[in-house]
Subunit: 590 residues, 2 copies
């Protein structure tokens, strides 16, 4: 039984990040902690009551294809209706089109709750949100007026249509064609991996499609972005006839079964009607304006599933009686076995570290976009840009590890599908892949975020982390020890960054052979820093009324510092000395 971690979320938002500071930003001035808390409480109630019960059934049944279109699993249509009635799609969208601006960390916290309860469901509004964001920032006024209000309200959904069989991570190879026809285009091409590309939740779906206008140059500079509605929309907003867009099959996947992953055919006769967004040949740029928020959203999914897996494993460990406890005779709960506790604390601490890092990164994006002071905006944007690939890469890798441990805590029962622990492993597996694999994130981190500014943004963050940690002075010994471990990790990150930058200067390819270990090193160290800060805050709160929460916070942070953070040492060695063994390897002999 999932319970939204409301106390924990409020701790991170209010106590660790102090997001009420955002009320000083234009556009976020009406934000208050009370508003955030009430949003999350309401999201928790909805997720627990409506979405979570559909998680297992949706997994078992899956979405189903038919020649008339894809049918969502039982209950999803009703749940989606209640989701829109609750006004959830509006959260985070532009108020001019019916949206409600809230700070990114609040929006991320809400997304976590939805994803914990039902990842497959969550993807539908998430993709719509991405399409909305693309239209908000790049479409014409007329296009916005026609499409946005009903997408923001959730009456219509949206998709992101990028991938083709030969064009995955490498979108330069997109071949879908667009032929001009009066003020619009006719599209022809097959697209794959289209999440919620077709379904029966709504009357219409607005596809944001990458295609190449006839005669455009090859490569990424010849790709344009089109609006392609499933059902044509008349100028007065009423629905017209069906467009030439259809789902020809859905994938049989490892997880997220209730989220239809569609093979979409655009144009089988006259072509699918599409409307150019912005200028020709600038489609990739338009599509990537929301890259940071999309990657942040997937990072959140990683620990959201981890949180759900943790809750279930902890519940099992309290109720399953098995084995003599080290100091007892009768069978006790397996929670009493130190190794089971070690597993659960690994799950819990990695989830808390991931959450703190993701929400901190969301705060940087908000400050970067909204803060009145230009210098603050620039610094926060640079920090957000630096952090996003780390959040996407590390939080999802960690979410996979967490879900896998969840099975292990259950022993043989974990391998049985009815238990539910296996579904989390299957579902979360996609998160290290879509929106750019961990390898892609790590290349972005070292190639664009580190090399381009010669490590300036990273150096600023390292300086801040060290300064903040040095300023902590908790009385609690575990919190003090946590601080020491975090400081040591920061030193290792600094040294590894220096060595990586030196290598990158010598030869850019150097870094590519150790980029994922470096990304993990960053995630661990930054998670350790934020948990050390959390532990110090908790230590200060120990005398108050919420003692149990704060004691748990310290114990979890201390575990992370002593059992998880030491991985930094090995990763630093790999970053420092591991590249040659990859670069000198003969691919023919691999």
């Amino acid at each position: 039984m999932y319970r939204a971690p409301l106390r924990e979320l409020r701790f991170v938002l209010e106590e660790l990040l102090g997001i009420r500071q955002l009320a000083a930003c234009p556009g976020l001035a009406d934000y208050s902690d009370e508003l955030g808390a009430s949003i999350l409480e309401e999201a928790g109630r909805f997720a627990e009551a409506v979405l979570e019960p559909l998680n297992r059934t949706g997994d078992r049944e899956g979405a189903r294809w038919s020649p008339e279109g894809v049918r969502a699993a039982t209950g999803f249509k009703d749940a989606y209706r209640r989701y829109t009635e609750g006004g959830w799609p509006q959260l985070g969208a532009d108020p001019r089109f019916g949206g409600q601006r809230v700070p990114q960390p609040v929006s991320s916290a809400m997304q976590e709750i939805i994803a914990s309860a039902n990842l497959a469901f969550k993807l539908c509004p998430m993709l719509t949100h991405g399409a909305v964001h693309a239209l908000e920032s790049s479409a014409s006024d007329a296009q916005r007026r026609l499409f946005l209000p009903r997408m923001v309200s959730g009456e219509w959904t949206g998709t992101m249509v990028l991938t083709e069989p030969q064009a995955g991570s490498d979108l330069a190879q997109v071949r879908t064609r667009a032929l001009p026809e009066a003020d619009r285009y006719r599209l022809f091409g097959q697209k794959i991996f289209i999440t919620w590309g077709d379904h029966d939740l709504t009357d219409n779906t607005i596809h944001m499609v990458l295609a190449r206008i006839e005669g455009a140059s090859p490569g990424v500079k010849g790709i344009s972005l089109f609006i392609v509605p499933k059902v044509l929309v008349n100028a007065d907003g009423s629905l017209g006839g069906r467009n030439e867009v259809r789902c020809v099959s859905i994938e049989h996947k490892l997880g997220i079964h209730a989220s239809p992953t569609c093979v979409m055919e655009f144009g089988h006769d006259k072509g699918a009607v599409g409307y150019l967004v912005g200028e020709p040949n600038r489609g990739l740029g338009y599509m990537f304006v929301m890259m940071n928020t999309a990657r942040l959203a997937v990072g959140v999914e990683g620990y959201a599933v981890g949180e759900r897996a943790f809750q279930q494993a902890a519940e099992y460990a309290r109720s399953r009686l098995q084995g003599r406890t080290p100091d007892g005779q009768a069978p006790g709960p397996i929670m009493d076995h130190p190794d089971v506790r070690r597993m659960l604390l690994t799950m819990k601490s990695c989830t808390e570290a991931s959450r703190a890092l993701a929400l901190y990164s969301g705060l940087q994006l908000d400050l970067g976009a909204h803060h009145p002071d230009q210098a603050v905006r620039a610094a926060a944007q640079a920090r957000g840009d630096l952090l996003i690939p780390i959040v996407k890469g590390w939080c999802t890798e960690t979410g996979n590890e967490t879900a896998a441990i969840g099975i292990q805590v259950h022993g043989g029962m974990g391998f049985i599908e009815e238990t539910g622990a296996a579904q989390y492993v299957r579902d979360v597996r996609i998160t290290t892949i879509y929106e750019g694999t961990t390898g892609i994130q790590s290349n972005d981190l070292i190639g664009r975020k580190l090399a381009r500014d010669h490590g300036a943004a990273m150096s600023a963050l390292v300086t801040d982390m060290r300064r903040e940690l040095q300023a902590l002075d908790p009385a609690d010994p575990a919190a003090r020890d946590t601080r020491e471990c975090a400081l040591q990790a920061v030193g290792q990150l600094e040294a590894a960054t220096r060595s990586l930058l030196a290598g990158l200067t010598a030869s850019p390819v150097q870094g590519l052979a150790v980029s994922v270990p470096y990304l993990k090193l960053c995630g661990l160290t930054m998670g350790g820093w934020l948990l050390a800060k959390s532990a110090a805050l908790a230590a200060a709160g120990l005398s108050g009324s919420d003692q149990r929460f704060y004691r748990a916070k310290i114990q979890t942070a201390h575990f992370f510092a002593r059992q998880v953070l030491p991985r930094v040492s090995g990763l630093a060695q790999v970053v420092g000395g591991g590249a040659a063994s990859v670069l000198e390897a003969d691919p023919d002999l691999v």
Copy 2:
């Protein structure tokens, strides 16, 4: 398309381990490298042609339950017939009952090939082999004569029937009752997780069942072992009537779908007829005589699936064109991306390290059982006992990691079931659980294998590893570097062991909080040692005719030393300083 890694297997068996030395042992005197090689070649042909094609279809179809019994997936019955016709079940069994003794490492190598091709299939003969082993060592002559020949030939299969809903890792809680009736017993009880507990491959199945004779004392000292045939066997060996044994359902599992995991009901009316094996109340001891070989077998499964996942990922990485290569313009194979090569080399090197360690451990078991010199036997047995939990724990954890990377190499395609990469992840997931979870293995390692002899067996191994590494003097620089890294790891293992033993002396529970990290530290270090030896051997062979193989061996070993082995540093820190953060944690606050 799976290809048995014959050259690699011969390298480990013949060059690294020199198993022809076993021909000096009574009972193994007719062994030669030629015999071993021909067995593996034949196994490879059979696995590639017969078993591998059934791996995906078996996964999709699964075994099916019906009131009349469980039906194996299409093709499995025929494959099993061909398996027995090929004489494969005999391998490793006692020649007195029709078996063929071969060294354990050869038997393990054969099992690897079968498991790589089709893990679900492999479990049926493996369980039979366990039952055969239990009967060989504990049953009466009459029982052996009646059951063994047809189990050794594979005409009948066997099972191991231990678990009950309340008795998983903790067999003290077994409740199945056995009531004496003349020279036999009547059994009543429900058992779960019975691998291949029912099926239509053979006319009969011999269940080895743990039960409690009416009036026996509680706990593990009141458990006896019974032979319970599915179909009763007359004294002349002919089949009689159906026994009261039936499969009431099969589990819906994450993986190994073609291997029926049965809920078995013993006795619904007069009770299932069972024959006591050996003395009453000593059942657990009889069942555990084959614990070392069973755990070794599961360790082998870990890297067997890893090998299969690696082969498929490498094939994909050579054929999938995507993305600009660092130094090229046109789309190249993704193998050219350093991070993809890093992933593949992680898979390959972890598989080779696991294999070397598992086969080395098998050699110790053989020397412990068969060497003419008592002192050699004792030392080898102690080393084998020490290594087996490490092989079981580390090779299966590593196999899980390897299979997961296999999905990642495939990107989005890895998440699609048709690709096949996901099945390896689902299948291998059971290996860290059955035959004792990784946590159970690590407790065995530190509680029984380390604490009991005060670290003597580990200390002897550390001394040997260091001496051997110091004696290596390869001219090849990568092989030299590999040796240095391995030596460093051995030093870290030694220090970690010292600190662990000191903690165990102070309080046994100390070690339980860091036992899995210690087990992984052991596996990594020992794998690094054997790969460093392999690299030195390969360096000496570079001038010969098999240059490509040896160059690959060095490159893989060097990668392991520089990109995988550094994890030892972090694990050593956890072993040294991580226990308190678990032991002081309040379970109510986890």
